[in-house]
């Protein structure tokens, strides 16, 4: 009787969990399937085709938008990594200063403030200073967002490091520079890579900030997708989505791999 009850319990649990996973993956599966269907959406499955991919590759707007997003994401990633490493450098030699510590907590706020508010603020700021909206403003905006992730991650890891390593390095005659670049940076490398990937993906996929700070001249991937969404369903968009899903899955895999392998090393 007990085993019967147990097996019922197991089946129910399994169904519930399976349902959640289906909830997550069915839309994506349908999306990917229709990118290979030779007839556009409302018609059912007819035959396999790569036609939409060909059409996608011959649409210049997509590549223009993708290229913009790519440039913005790369710049935002490098800027936020450089700035957060500079902060680590500063913190390395001014550990006890409470002013510096309170500056660090300032960066955590980037994540708490809703993105819409940040977007509105940046837009008003740029308009007030009569900065023309475009690639530069987008890079600035995405870097602010990226700092919210990079600074807590990298500084958190830095705080976990054994400070005796730094002291030993300095005692043994290394300069401040040498200590930073040959002790701290190598130790932080997994975190730097992980934070960089995170910022890259977040910037690449960001919609709200791009919406506010892009002006009319620049189109990013998110804005392109939005305009496509407003016009309706087209199979080329499915093809694009499939490629993007593939790309981000690879990036996430690298991210997890670097995080887990660095954890495993310890």
């Amino acid at each position: 009787m007990i085993s019967f009850k147990n097996s019922i319990k197991k089946i129910v649990t399994f169904c519930a969990v399976a349902f959640v996973y289906l909830f997550f993956y069915i839309p994506l599966a349908v999306l990917v399937t229709f990118s290979f269907n030779s007839m556009p959406f409302p018609s059912p499955w007819t035959s396999f085709t790569l036609m939409w991919y060909q059409e996608l590759f011959s649409t210049p707007y997509v590549w223009y938008a993708l290229w913009n997003s790519f440039i913005i994401a790369i710049c935002a990633t490098f800027l936020s990594l450089a700035l957060s490493l500079a902060l680590v450098y500063m913190r390395l030699f001014r550990r006890k200063s409470s002013m510096v510590e309170s500056f660090f907590s300032l960066f955590y706020v980037n994540l708490i403030v809703p993105e819409v508010v940040l977007g509105v603020g940046l837009l008003t700021f740029f308009v007030l200073c009569s900065v023309p909206l475009g690639l530069m403003t987008l890079i600035v905006a995405h870097t602010v967002l990226g700092l919210g992730f990079a600074v807590p991650l990298i500084n958190g890891r830095f705080a976990e490091l054994d400070i005796r390593l730094v002291e030993a390095s300095l005692d043994l005659g290394a300069t401040v520079h040498q200590t930073f670049f040959s002790i701290i940076v190598p130790l932080l490398r997994p975190t730097i890579i992980a934070a960089g990937l995170l910022v890259f993906i977040i910037s690449f996929d960001d919609f709200v900030l791009s919406y506010f700070c892009s002006g009319t001249s620049v189109q990013t991937l998110s804005l392109y997708l939005l305009s496509m969404l407003r016009t309706g369903i087209s199979p080329t968009m499915n093809a694009l989505s499939t490629l993007l899903l593939l790309l981000s899955s690879i990036l996430v895999f690298v991210f997890c791999w670097t995080t887990f392998s660095s954890k495993a090393q310890e």
Binding site: P27, P42, P114, T124, M237
Partner: protein, 277 residues
């Protein structure tokens, strides 16, 4: 010479300065810009139009949406995380991984994907029709249903991750001890597990609640024109120069509502813990 020595001593600080300048210039000042813009002109000139039932309804709608999204995410994510952390065994990490992977893709793409499921000739209708549950296709798009489905779908990982982090820290022997000492499974969940994972619940709830209050792409694209939300209204106002000040004022108003709501919820949750303890 003394000057150069001083500079040399302060190099680490100087290196760090650009980051701080960046943060102040592009984060702190813009936030003050909103306040400045909203309070220019006559006092409260730009706030006045928003004390109107129409805009009140928008605010309430967004609040309800954010609140129900937080609760729905919690009620789905909690059992799921429980399963992943305690029952899934070796499938734990892959299971978690599978839940998070899709969310690193552009979220507009997920909205697009849900069109295929919820459309009149979409997947769900076809499935229900062929199963004989319904006789004619349902209108699933442009409703509360489609908005909430999309919201829950998108915000779920924000709930799962902090919950999972908390579950990982939880000592499973506490669970066994409670069961050994005669508590039922439900009692153990209620008196041991939930209090112990409360920090995860709180941070997950706010990670979902705060951004979904300002969400504007999902209600706009999934809900049609019926679901004007705080985020959409703000973006309409701010993006045209004549109404920018009104947009700024409304942003401040909404932020105040959000802060009050968050503090209230936090207070209620912490009261709930105190009462139980």
């Amino acid at each position: 010479m003394q000057f150069f020595d001083y500079i040399k001593k302060e190099i680490p600080f100087i290196v760090g300065v650009p980051a701080l300048v960046w943060q102040v210039l592009f984060f702190v000042i813009p936030l003050f810009c909103i306040v400045g813009l909203a309070f220019t002109g006559k006092p409260f000139e730009y706030f006045a139009p928003f004390f109107d039932p129409v805009f009140g309804a928008v605010l309430v709608r967004s609040l309800i949406m954010a609140l129900s999204n937080g609760l729905l995410c919690l009620s789905i994510a909690y059992p799921l995380t429980y399963f992943l952390a305690f029952k899934a065994g070796r499938l734990r990490i892959p299971g978690l991984f599978l839940l998070i992977v899709p969310f690193w893709t552009n979220f507009l793409l997920h909205i697009y994907a849900w069109f295929f499921v919820l459309e009149k000739n979409g997947f769900l209708n076809t499935l229900l029709l062929s199963a004989g549950i319904i006789c004619e296709p349902l209108n699933l798009l442009n409703s509360w249903f489609s908005v909430m489905v999309m919201m829950v779908y998108y915000y779920m990982p924000f709930m799962i991750l902090p919950l999972y982090a908390q579950f990982e820290k939880f000592d499973k022997r506490l669970f066994e001890a409670s069961l050994d000492l005669g508590a039922s499974w439900l009692q153990t969940i209620w008196y041991v597990l939930i209090p112990a994972t409360m920090p995860g619940i709180i941070s997950g709830f706010f990670l979902v609640f705060v951004p979904s209050f300002g969400e504007f792409a999902i209600p706009e694209l999934m809900g049609g024109d019926k679901f004007l939300c705080v985020g959409s209204l703000v973006s309409y106002c701010v993006l045209s120069a004549e109404t920018a000040s009104y947009g700024a004022a409304f942003t401040i108003l909404c932020s105040c509502v959000l802060i009050i709501a968050s503090v209230t919820i936090y207070w209620l949750l912490s009261q709930a813990i105190k009462v139980r303890a």
